[in-house]
Amino acid sequence: MTNITALHPKRNERMTSPSLMDTLFQRTLEDLIKGIRLQLMGESSFISKAIEEIRREIKSTDLSTKSIALHKLTYLNSIHAQDMSWAAFHAVEVLSSHCFAHKKVGYLAISQSFSESTPVLLLITNQLRKDLSSTNEFEVGLALECLSRIATVDLARDLTPEVFTLLGTSKVFVRKKAVAVVLRVFGKYPDAVRVCFKRLVENLETSDQRIVSAVVGVFCELALNAPRSYLPLAPEFYRILVDSKNNWILIKVLKIFAKLAALEPRLAKRVVEPVCEHMRRTGAKSLMFECIRTVVSSLSEYEPALKLAVMKICEFLVDDDPNLKYLGLHALSIAAPKHLWAVLENKEVVIKSLSDVDPNVKLESLRLVMAMVSESNVVEISRVLVNYALKSDPEFCNKILGSILSTCCSNLYEVINDFDWYVSLLEEMSRIPHCQKGEEIESQLIDIGMRVKDVRPELVRVSRDLLIDPALLGNPFLHRILSAAAWVSGEYVEFSRNPIELMEALLQPRTSLLPPSIMATYIQASFKVIIYCLHVYLFQKENLISSSYPDNLALRVSDLFSERECAGGSDLASGDPSVTCEKYEGFNPRVLGQSFEDLSTLNVGDVTVTHGQTSTTPVEMNSFTHESIVNLLNLLEMALGPLSGSHDVELQERTKNVLGFIDLIKQEMCDILIHIEGSLEREDLRSSKVVALMHDAFLKELGPVSTSAQERVPIPDGLELKENLADLDEICGDAQLPSNSFSLGNPHYGETVGVCFSNFQINKYSDTSHDSTYLIAEHRQRHDLYYLPSEKGDTVSNDYPPANDPKIQDNLKDDTEDLAKLTEQSLVPGKKSNLAKPRPVVVKLDEGDGTRITVTKPEPKDDMLSGAVRDILLGNEGVTISSQSNQSDKPSIKRKGKEKLNMNLPSESKENFGDAEKPDYGNPSSRKIKYHSHGKQRRHRSPSKKNAEAREENGRKEKQKNSHHHVSSSHRVFGLQPHL
């Protein structure tokens, strides 16, 4: 052998086509493996040489050479990840050999490398059929194995008759494989059920445990997908549950009953005792665990059974075997949602397991600890867990943090009473070095801010602490949290103790470490802060001078707009449109959130009240001097200056907005200084008007929006979103704009302006609506390209792409009233609990926030399969729940009846077989009806017969019990003892 191997490289060079030499000196698989292990020339080059060689050899006409080559290729494919799809046809050729060894190689290659899309798959149907009918049981076995791996719809359909025949063969070796292959055949070709199902069920009755095991295995798989269809078979499974002594079979039957019992309470009542009996008697841990799992998942309402199961779980928990401990904890966590007492009883073990060495055990115990969380202990448990998190490895630390976060936020922070505490917990978690839960903490900070009004001062304090710490900016995992903190402190700036400090935090140099999207949030937040500061400053001043602010607001708004129009052409050319956008952007979510008339007025009332209250404290502290305001403006200008050239569109735009605003204000700030004591002129009012308007815009409170709110807005009639966009390039060609820069927002700004703004004005300043529509028209004229064609006769922008989110378009129309109603409906006041410290109001949406359950339908294949199974078991006309439950309620009686019938009518059942052996696809109903007729006859039995059967059943039960006593003493899995 070694000589040949040594000869090989030379031969490689000389020969290019397969010949006698190839056949004589062909490397076997063993040579190949040896060669790879020697690694004289490096593994990869050796393998590519070998592949070259195989490519030559496999073309040989000699099947032996071919099959050795294929064998080597199969090996290289499976162990060294070499492609072998190119050899598919050669595999088919090898398959056709008469030699068993070749066939074996061929089948191995095929089942390893063929997929549904392999083109030559169709060529093997006949070969498979031939081998399935072979007299050599091992050939049949190979073919079945192959079929179980690669069967397609076509193969399953074409070979169903052969499989059916094999289901009745006397050779156990073949029959068990035929049973197992049925699963794949049914899955691919549900109509096969009509042919094979009856025989499959009959195999349950055989005495050979290996066949029963295979059948039960198939039913276990089938029942997991559509358990209801298999309820009628419950009597058969029940018999196995009581009679069988094979742990493997029992485990599978238990799995089936766990599914069936959930559907049929009377069945649960029936099986609970045998399951407990197994639990009491078995020594096999695998069976024990399956019994426990069945009880805690499906039979937990039977208290004695559950108590027994929990007792057995305790034994698992104290076992030295980490596997048993883990599975015990796992079983507890299945029981936890319904029977928390089971967990509480084992509290100490569970908590101790948090510091176990085994990650599985730690994780399960964490899950259980979280299950124990309630309103009364959430503070304490979180404290303990955060301490664990600090000590743990990064992975487990984040698992802990993740479960605290998800438990606390479930059901709208159900377990949280003290939100001030929770917010500071969030801060603490953010500061844990390994924390990678930025996204979750971000969304919770914002969510709490929007939902829980009372916590906002604390939230702003926490945000400030986070923002002001320069160390946090260096940790990318915290960026999302910082983004939320920035947003919170901008949105609720009125609660800030020191806005100037906040501004400095938002503009600190290290913010350059943030990604642009988060920078943009920072800038927007600083914009809100500056507006707030200016407003406080000017408002104080204005209060001294004019007290008519609220009365002439409407007038001032219109003033402002005409002003802005004038200014548009002159010095504010660049700043102006973006400021407008900025403002509308500010408006947009508000309109979505709460533009309904009643509540908005109510909220405005609220906000002003809150503002009034708080303004007594912070504003006094924050009494801004002129100097501090100018400094603030300078700081902002200086910090943002470099960013106006940013390559990030969002960042650049926001920066430009703020800078434009500063331009507008700054000049006048100087004027104010000049006229500080003098009479205030109109010039002065202009800036304060802008500030007042912006302030009002930001003052409007954001609220949570139901995720389905937008879906409920009907699409307006005239809206065409699927228009052909082919002309787009033509239209935009001149402009040379990056297409996403204007689809980002502009197109819908234009339209939303109309709605939002008019809405805004309808609410408050109804008399200015005319001005705004005029402005919109003006804007539209100038930026026509950016508008969507919503009006008839608009020809120019017909082909404009829809804006990013087509849903936004939905509320563009005059449906604002509908929208208002919808959002109004979706806001309901939160509940209050009657605890010592009253729980703050948590704003909720009526239809379960974000927990919209999407009903996932079972796959159509499964549907067809279970439908076919139901047809077979019940007949088409009898698919009613009552008939199913009747049968399952009296399992033994039914079975008895059937056995009797079979005995009485041997000729009929014989006929059935004959009938089925030639499957008649056109008219399967004949068999079906006959099968079903058993049931019918049973139903029409006379009472006396029933009694007789009942007696019989009792006797049988007695027997079962007796035999069970014998049997159960030797429960072992597979006769091995690892888990005894």
């Binding site: 698989l29 493996i33 292990r37 064998h71 499976s78 162990i79 990840a81 070499q82 492609d83 068993f100 060894a101 074996k104 191995l108 063929f114 997929s115 091992f138 079945l144 194995e145 179980s148 791996r149 070796f173 068990k176 494989k177 197992a180 292959v181 699963l183 794949r184 290996r210 095991s213 295979a214 295995g217 198939v218 276990c220 798989e221 997991l224 742990n247 493997w248 485990i251 599978k252 799995k255 841990k285 695998s286 665990f289 399956e290 980490p322 596997n323 401990k325 883990y326 599975l327 060495v357 085994d358 990650p359 599985n360 055990v361 899995v973 597979f974 006769g975 091995l976 690892p978 888990h979």
Partner: protein
């Protein structure tokens, strides 16, 4: 159902792989790598189960046994019992042991075909068909 069986050594080299749903070669490699990644980071004396949802699809877990230089890995879903799978590994290993007289890694490397024959007798299309190593050996011997 059993989704896959893998035998690999402690360096991550696959010695036997069988996937009961078709997987492309690349996907197989990826799965083998991620399984090894999980296994080699686990300490001795910890439980033998790993939740495998993230790698092998929902509802899957794996059980493994570390013997000498080899990992024996079975990937399975919720229709199998965890401890029974562990026992099945035992059956597989015992069968190998009987077939090769004190099995070691080299036996497995050089008896690629026989390994498949043995495994195919125990697990058929993802379902457990034979749990007695005597029966398996009998069948494998007659197959040759």
């Amino acid at each position: 159902m059993i989704r896959a069986v893998m035998v690999m050594n402690t360096q991550g080299k696959p010695r036997l792989t069988k996937f009961y749903d078709f997987q492309s070669v690349e996907k197989q490699q990826e799965l083998i790598r991620s399984v090894f990644g999980v296994l080699c980071s686990r300490a001795e004396n910890v439980s033998n189960f790993v939740d495998f949802d993230s790698i092998f699809g929902p509802d899957t877990r794996l059980v493994y046994k570390h013997l000498a230089t080899l990992y024996f890995v079975f990937v399975f879903d919720s229709s199998e019992n965890e401890l029974a799978m562990l026992d099945l590994i035992q059956v597989f290993v015992e069968t190998l042991d009987k077939c090769f007289k004190n099995v070691c890694e080299l036996d497995i490397v050089f008896n690629y075909t026989k390994m498949h024959s043995i495994l195919d007798e125990i697990v058929f299309g993802g379902q457990v068909l034979e749990t007695s190593s005597a029966e398996v050996i009998k069948a494998v011997k007659s197959i040759g």
